[in-house]
Symmetry: C2
Subunit: 479 residues, 2 copies
Amino acid sequence: MKDTKGITVKKEEDMPEWYGQVVLKSELADYAPLRGFMVIRPRGYALWESIRDFFDKLIKSNGVKNAYFPLLIPKSFFDKEAEHAEGFEPEVAWIEQEADSEERYAIRPTSETIMYDSYSRWIRSWRDLPLKINQWCNIVRWEVKDTKIFLRTREFLWQEGHCVYATEKECDQDARVILEYYRKVAEELLAVPVLTGKKTKAETFAGAVRSYAIEGFMPDGKALQMGTSHMLGQNFAKAFDINFLDENEKVSTPWQNSWGISTRLLGALVLTHGDDKGMVIPPSMAEEKVAIVPIFVKDDSVNEKTIAKAKEIASELKKYNPILDDRTEYSMGWKYNQYELLGVPLRMEIGPRDIENENVVLVRRDTGEKIVVKWLDLQDEVRRLLDVIQTNLFAKAKQVMESKKTYVSTWEDFLVADKEKKLILTPHCGIEECELSIKDETQGVTSRCIPFSDSKVTDEVCVKCGKKAAYKAYFSRQY
Amino acid sequence: MKDTKGITVKKEEDMPEWYGQVVLKSELADYAPLRGFMVIRPRGYALWESIRDFFDKLIKSNGVKNAYFPLLIPKSFFDKEAEHAEGFEPEVAWIEQEADSEERYAIRPTSETIMYDSYSRWIRSWRDLPLKINQWCNIVRWEVKDTKIFLRTREFLWQEGHCVYATEKECDQDARVILEYYRKVAEELLAVPVLTGKKTKAETFAGAVRSYAIEGFMPDGKALQMGTSHMLGQNFAKAFDINFLDENEKVSTPWQNSWGISTRLLGALVLTHGDDKGMVIPPSMAEEKVAIVPIFVKDDSVNEKTIAKAKEIASELKKYNPILDDRTEYSMGWKYNQYELLGVPLRMEIGPRDIENENVVLVRRDTGEKIVVKWLDLQDEVRRLLDVIQTNLFAKAKQVMESKKTYVSTWEDFLVADKEKKLILTPHCGIEECELSIKDETQGVTSRCIPFSDSKVTDEVCVKCGKKAAYKAYFSRQY
């Protein structure tokens, strides 16, 4: 941890540079020696583990089971669902090894096809449904665009859930249940507020009937898609010959959904909460929730007492997995900066005067506020402050997002709002070509989602083409 | 779960066929549509998760942190450590995509090289040591031999730990600590007894100074290497330019170890505990530890009472995650067979007569023994029986392994013992060529390990060449 210099640029002034510095200097990740790849360092991986554990519990309570399917996918599989193949082919990495046949193998850019091939053999009757399977794995998409750690990398980690149902209703309902889990991950764990809604036709997943998404809105005025849940309808079931005998012994085609979140979420976390001092980790995700820094004086016998008390406190606060930094080769100031850079939610300072007064000083990472706390109240106060920080991080981020929302009904206002980097709610005709013309003319503004609330229209007309509006949708630039 | 037919061949009569049937019919895994690959189904993956959770806790208590490094490795990296490159090159899968340069990328067959490239940038001073990092990931080795689910597949899941130390002593000690963790995984979790020892020179990992291993011995008389921990010395540190400033500001070369276990362990589990009825899951690994089967009669009102009581019991035994199978479309006999096939440790039968007597019947999966248990004693008795099953599975397997051990001192006896599929302890000169000649002449017998106990020699001579023996080592055929 030595040698670490602080963040040298302000978040407001140069967010891309600031982002890169935080990711590297807070030791979340590092560049890999392959272009577009990343090394997720222990501090970053612990955040991913916390997402995994949180979400894994939710889906298991819903009856989803984890499994693991092959890394490589035969080309012929992709080709079975035409839209899907077209959607992924440009970014697939192929391997040189070949089977006995003419087959080519791709590193999975997503696993619908290889999983559904197995499903077609496993599913025979209504008794086998619903089949709810998820896998945690790595994915490769050979992106041509500029890559950026966590946000857009050629390899990332994710989970992909793939479920099969006897009825359309169950299938769609469960896709929505998962979206609600994603909202919980974002808002309750990461403290990142999100829009929840349906994707427009133009933004629907390749091969899906309907896509739902949670969308974050970053402080630089760009949206970040944080999770998607797709109602696949019967498209893949038909392409992969998945059938079941229903209760009346009739051969039927089942319904499917698929859903995923990835290490991209860590990018949203950094962008949303990080500040000019570095990373800020929400308490519910922080592996080490408190950093205890004893304040040393010239007299070693005094220091020994300070360390002894600090150790006692560390052991009392064990459930918060505190760091006790009693190293003498680093100054207090260096340590303060270091734990701020790393984003530890609470810092505790304890020195001779605190020992005399039977208190410690707690410093909140999110606000810098200092709170003097009596030893007797420490347990309660630490718990309370961690809750307060979690709540505050979410509230602050929510306020930023709300302040960026704007409603426009004319194309002129739309263009102004885009310049002001707003999250634009606007009526739209729902026609794919019209939406694509918005993207073309603005060089990059796309729809985020048709929100579950606020999307109803009555007499409104499309902001772009003036035809009757089908819904209100959010538009913005995006990561 | 319907349609499942039982195992149609006896374990003793045709173990390879039996093994394949258990893996497939107990729903642990399935063949993938790519030769040599596997699909790990939910019941198999849950076993892997139990290994992950058990081992992850152990290494975290030792200060190891999880991280994630890229799937792809530049060819130039392999080439930096000559022995290592030579060891892996034949089984590497290359991808077609190329960087800007002449570089080729391999799917990782192991990650020493890409991790140590990062380490060379992260490690600067003694303060950065020890650096203890582990990753859970997938691995591809393009095996040419016959592949077999879990035991030898082109892709498998594993963990690989890679640690760096200031001193040789710490490094070697920790490699041994990890081996002890592996022994715990094998013996305490999987209930599979293992030999622990050092690999001979001929069997040492490509690039390591010394390899330690845990070795299981399967009931068909073949050993199975279940985990290895390598003392890498300074070979990789030198090749990858990893240096640190020691406490006296002197540039020093650190010491490294690396260690791994994989989904191969699931193969050992099946081979060791499975029987003619199917899988047998040790209670400490079983996700569902009890299968409750209500016994139905013609009178539905009686059945309702049975189901009500079964539900009450299921909820009392919640911590054992019981299956309550009250489906009416399957017969009792079918259900009994099914849960035996799946390997659930305890079956509970409860019918009208049991309700009258306020008891249930518990049936042990490992022995088939039936035990009548009063409702009042149920909690205690279930806990006790699960412990007994766990202990018994290990004891039985241990007895089998011990019965296969034999000591020989002449080449003639060695050949007889090999024919009898024994686990042969014998004095050896320690010369690599001599050991290779054993492999050649027997067409496959290799050394397993120089055990930590029983390996000392005094006047013994080498079983093969007659030179002075350096140690006693175990030899056998292997998976």
